[in-house]
């Protein structure tokens, strides 16, 4: 019995492989499995190639995993469009549509040919059972259920949910196709069985969601009252969810005419005293930069989500990349310090979103929530998050009595750097918010002396963030000579790599920063102290965190940048191999 199973499917856009993956995921999660699904398409609106990966486990799933245990190819051409996203090993069970013919030579050219190749007349079986080839993926689901032990009752429940209201005929056809798939699998056993064990969790206890869902839910939980945005892949789902939900909680969503207006309306709502957010991806970040500077100098709280995709420009709109860290930390003119936080998985996106709102409101600053396409759009079955102990920070607004006691200075040069903030409607608290430099009262100034004081204040107020141990995950033996640093979606790969390394007898420690900027120098200095060798793992060409760390910290010589360009995901095992190779080298 296996406790972990990684499946991949690829086909043409209309084949429904993503939808089949979703059915599988839904079935698995309702049974109590931990599960994770990533999908990958060309950027066509309809048609083109599409694929998905589903990882089922009896334990928490840390990342999409490495080489596939099972691959279903509905045709070869579309399968080959997904290189590193659908990696095979000799142990992969490669199931393919019989009429597509045996694997072409391209497969061998990619390096690995699986031992077990299983041609199935999927289209034939579908036509025979369902009467048309529309229910192809239900046959596939049947095969997967029969061969790998995924409970068919749960799949049937999923089919009912999906097709139940689309006419009796469709549901029946899919149910028949499923049954045929199951029977076929039973009649044609695999050489090596790959049956997954029953999950320990109670059925019905798992949430099924993606990172964008958890961002929207986190925002609602934190009490967001305004969202201004503009549709952009791969962040749009956050606006879509909020515009369904926010009214229930007394809030408003404004779909604006452009990215600039989206963040403009958001900063306006924050000025008016409300918890506000916007969401976008790289190209939108470019356009929003000027308003971000305004929010920094006017010291107005807001949260801006950037779901990173491949760049520059339109780049790879549907694929992940960790190429926007420089932008998040440094974009915009002037001396600016603004917090950047990154969630590391779907579940974590909830917590990190709430954290961003807390930091924004507490320190009166825009905060960048730096997610990426993989986290944002991968669906996961995870345990329900316990929110009972989660703290929510509200903006500290002076009372009218406090305001009446002494003249109000919106930008008072306090020791902490945080000044009392009012909002329109509050008696005694009127002031001028502005993009222009100002004195303590808020009146415009061009004094160099005052500018220096205000800059110092705006930097000083964020210092406490660097001391927040809960914004960093440090795992493993503090004296380990080997270490990994990873952030965002890459963190999940690093977490699994640490486990694999441990199983192989290597002592590897791990640092995952949730707070990416400002750089907490001491946290890194402590981590580096025992390291002889280490990798800073990033899905980008340059390795942007590595380069920022070299600006702010003393990175030991043995710690190197380990990068790959976007849309070419890492596998946990390669991190382990690379570390082990390094181990033998002098530091």
């Amino acid at each position: 019995m296996l406790d972990d199973l990684i499946l991949g499917m690829a086909g043409a856009g209309g084949d429904g492989v993503v939808s089949a993956g979703e059915s599988l995921l839904s079935a698995a999660s309702s049974e109590g499995y931990h599960a994770l699904m990533t999908k990958s398409f060309g950027s066509q609106i309809r048609g083109g190639e599409s694929s998905c990966r589903v990882r089922l486990s009896t334990k928490k799933v840390l990342n999409p995993g490495g080489a596939l245990d099972v691959m279903v190819a509905l045709n070869w051409e579309d399968f080959f469009k997904f290189g590193a996203e659908l990696p095979l090993s000799v142990n992969t069970v490669l199931i393919y549509e019989e009429k597509a013919g045996p694997p072409p030579e391209t497969l061998a050219a990619r390096g690995v040919v699986p031992k077990e190749l299983v041609p199935v007349g999927i289209t034939e079986l579908t036509k025979k059972s369902a009467g048309s080839d529309k229910a192809k993926t239900s046959v596939v689901l049947g095969l997967l259920s029969g061969w790998f032990g995924i409970p068919s009752e749960a799949i049937t429940r999923g089919l009912k949910k999906k097709f139940g209201n689309k006419g009796e005929g469709l549901l029946e056809a899919n149910e028949k196709a499923l049954a045929v798939g199951i029977d076929y699998a039973k009649a044609h056993p695999l050489q090596a069985p790959h049956v997954i064990a029953k999950p320990a969790g109670t059925p019905g206890s798992k949430m099924l969601c993606d990172g964008n869902d958890m961002c929207a839910a986190g925002a609602l939980f934190a009490g967001v009252k305004f969202f201004g945005g503009y549709p952009i892949t791969p962040s749009t789902e956050v606006m879509q969810t909020l515009t369904r939900e926010i009214w229930k909680y007394g809030g408003t969503v404004l779909q604006c005419e452009d990215e600039i207006a989206g963040l403009g309306a958001t900063v306006g709502a924050s000025f008016a005293g409300k918890k506000s957010m916007s969401a976008t991806s790289g190209p939108g970040m470019d356009l929003k930069t000027e308003i971000l500077g305004l929010a920094t100098i006017a010291e107005l709280p807001l949260v801006l989500l950037n779901v990173q995709r491949g760049g520059p420009s339109t780049g790879l709109p549907t694929k992940p990349e960790q190429g926007d860290l420089f932008q998040a930390a440094f974009s915009g003119h002037g001396d600016v310090l603004r917090p950047v936080l990154a969630p590391t998985d779907v579940e974590d996106t909830f917590r990190t979103t709430v954290e961003c709102f807390n930091i924004a409101e507490q320190f009166q600053t825009p905060v960048i929530l730096l997610s990426d396409q993989e986290i944002a759009q991968r669906k996961e079955a995870v345990d329900l998050i316990d929110t009972s102990k989660m703290e929510i920070i509200e903006r500290r607004v002076p009372t009218e009595a406090e305001l009446a006691a002494k003249p109000y200075a919106r930008f008072a040069l306090t020791e902490s750097g945080v000044s009392p903030i009012t909002h329109p409607g509050l008696k005694g608290g009127t002031y001028l918010a502005a993009g222009i430099e100002h004195n303590e009262k808020g009146d415009p100034t061009s004094s160099g002396a005052m500018h220096a004081k205000m800059n110092a204040k705006r930097f000083r107020k964020l210092e406490p963030l660097k001391k927040r141990a809960d914004l960093f995950e440090v795992q493993g033996n503090p004296n380990a000579a080997l270490g990994l640093i990873a952030w965002g979606s890459t963190a999940g790969v690093a977490r699994e790599a640490v486990q694999l390394a441990k199983a192989e007898g290597h002592d590897v420690k791990l640092l995952v920063p949730y707070l990416l900027y400002p750089i907490a120098e001491q946290v890194y200095a402590n981590f580096f102290e025992s390291l002889k060798h280490g990798l800073i793992v990033e899905l980008s060409h340059q390795g942007q965190l590595y380069r920022i760390l070299r600006m702010f910290t003393e990175v030991p010589k043995g710690v190197r940048s380990f990068t790959r360009d976007g849309a070419n995901p890492f596998q946990p095992i390669e991190l382990v191999k690379t570390l082990v190779e390094l181990k033998g080298l002098p530091s």
Binding site: G204, A261, G262, Y431
Partner: protein, 290 residues
């Protein structure tokens, strides 16, 4: 008659305007104080939003809340303010370059959403703050530092734009007629929906002679004196075509049946949807997979 709750001076801040002596914006500011006094909302319930430019300095010269934002973005920012707190009186002030050049893309959308905002454009046909460049309302042929051989472009017609986008209240004023201008600003603020007043506010330093207040006095004609019916949108458009040639003042168009504002529709939606709210700690249960 009772004395007003707030006098014009109650809206005046201690900050001294940076404008050149004789600038039209002084008059606009005075007219604004008067209009606010007539309306009588306390300064802390008023928010002035502006972009960048000479006229965009206005928020700082009032005792109300102010947000002097970035170039061209006052309209979306003001919409966020008003939607976050519909109880506020929100006025946007800016120039022709701020509103119709760098911020031009926002105008149509601000109008079509019909949020109860009042947009005052101080139109001086030139960029004053950056010292005299061509603006989107500069007349064709105008010689400026960025058009030393004369402008090759036709100007934008702000009045016709606003009418075509469907604004419910469109007027034009000049500080040369102080009582008329402050009455128009007041009427615009009172209009329940998006309202626009184009104020011909001369640039005393870089403007042409015929655009100065003195010239306005001889040139201006009230729309009332022409017998214009301000509920007639087509007639309003016809008269608005004279922008740049004639100086008509008064209300071009005022929708006699103002449609519901965006924020009133939001309020209805919130009331209806609030029944479906989950307790904070149950929000995530929506994602449970049964």
């Amino acid at each position: 008659m009772n004395a007003p709750l707030f006098q014009a001076k109650d809206y005046k801040s201690e900050l001294k305007p940076i404008w050149c002596p004789g600038c039209g914006d002084f008059g606009v500011l005075q007219g604004l104080y008067r209009a606010l006094s007539a309306i009588g909302r306390p300064p802390h319930e008023v928010a002035f939003i502006s972009g960048i430019g000479c006229s965009s300095r206005i928020p700082g010269y009032t005792t109300a809340y102010g947000f002097n934002t970035v170039h061209g973005r006052s309209l979306p920012i003001a919409q966020g303010v008003k939607l976050a707190n519909p109880e506020l009186l929100v006025v946007i002030a800016g120039g022709d370059g701020d509103g119709f050049s760098i911020g031009g893309g926002h105008v149509a959308h601000a109008v079509r959403r019909n949020i109860d905002l009042t947009y005052l454009v101080m139109d001086n046909q030139v960029y004053g703050l950056t010292k005299g460049q061509l603006s989107p309302t500069s007349p064709k042929g105008l010689e400026t530092v960025t058009s030393p051989l004369g402008s090759l472009e036709d100007p934008i017609n702000p009045l016709l734009y606003m009418l075509a986008y469907g604004a419910g209240f469109v007027a034009q004023a000049t500080p040369a007629d102080m009582p008329g201008m402050s009455a128009l600003i007041e009427e615009a603020i009172r209009y329940p929906g998006f309202s626009f007043v184009n104020i011909q506010s001369p640039c005393v330093t870089f403007g042409e002679d015929e655009q100065q207040l003195k010239a306005h006095k001889g040139k201006m004609k009230t729309l009332a004196s022409l017998g214009h019916d301000s509920t007639n949108q087509l007639a309003a458009m016809d008269l608005a075509r004279a922008y740049g040639k004639e100086l008509y003042t008064g209300v071009f168009y005022k929708n006699p049946n103002p449609p519901p504002t965006y924020e009133s529709l939001v309020k209805l939606r919130q009331a209806e949807q609030s029944k479906k709210a989950r307790a904070r700690h149950q929000i995530l249960e929506a994602y449970l997979q049964k």
